[in-house]
Symmetry: C2
Subunit: 141 residues, 2 copies
């Protein structure tokens, strides 16, 4: 009895001295399971002033460029392409590509494709092109 | 014959007018196949002033912190943990974690684990701790 009581007291004492931090991983598949809309990136993590986002592509997007920043695509599931005015790149799962700042591009996926994007907080999906394919910014999931 | 010649002329004309750009994906597994050392991150891509790196962990690293930046770990293959002074996080493939700026941490992998890191160019693997586990910076693969 005495030993049990001591342990209890120690725990109580420890709890009152510090907050127990809980560190949780961010699971990409679990995040992707939470939505089904296309071309609408959701933020899953912030690193300094950059956002990590997940997004589902299907079909054709619009030509656009990001005047102020490079943009990283990492394919998680499915296949996609990025068209440029003078060529294209095909991306499969486990592949990434950096679209250079200011370069006009158009993402495309014949079937649904799951992607992780990395770009500065506040980056808009249609860049400087705007239009009705522009998704809400700053949506966390 | 005439049709063939025309096609040839058109190609020649097109080649002389513009440079054909070749856009190549960055394949994470292919990059990881190029080295076998542990705790020595290799740069595979640059986005603005940030580097994307791949690294192989095995065993225990040193306690360290990055005073100036958050740091992102994305597990590609295998399992790893990050210890903190008041807890830890376990990471499996497809999971990521952002270690906050200034927070002391110690990565650990019981068996070899393959990771993608995202952090500002110039970030040193041992942070402000230094010591003989410090890897060469700015190594591209």
């Amino acid at each position: 009895m005495n030993l049990v009581w001591q342990a209890h007291q120690e725990n109580k004492s420890e709890n009152s001295l510090r907050i127990i931090m809980e560190y949780m991983p961010i699971n990409l598949k679990e995040k992707l399971s939470k939505f089904s809309d296309h071309w609408s990136p959701k933020i899953i993590a912030q690193m300094n002033d950059y956002h990590f986002k997940v997004v589902k592509f299907s079909g054709d997007f619009v030509w656009h460029r990001h005047e102020e920043t490079d943009e990283v695509f990492v394919v998680l599931d499915g296949k996609m392409s990025i068209q440029f005015r003078d060529g294209k790149v095909d991306l499969a799962p486990g592949e990434l590509f950096v679209v250079p700042k200011g370069l006009e591009h158009k993402p495309f996926a014949e079937k649904e494709c799951h992607i992780m994007l990395v770009e500065p907080a506040g980056t808009i999906n249609t860049g400087s092109a705007g239009g009705d394919r522009t998704a809400a910014d700053n949506v966390w999931i």
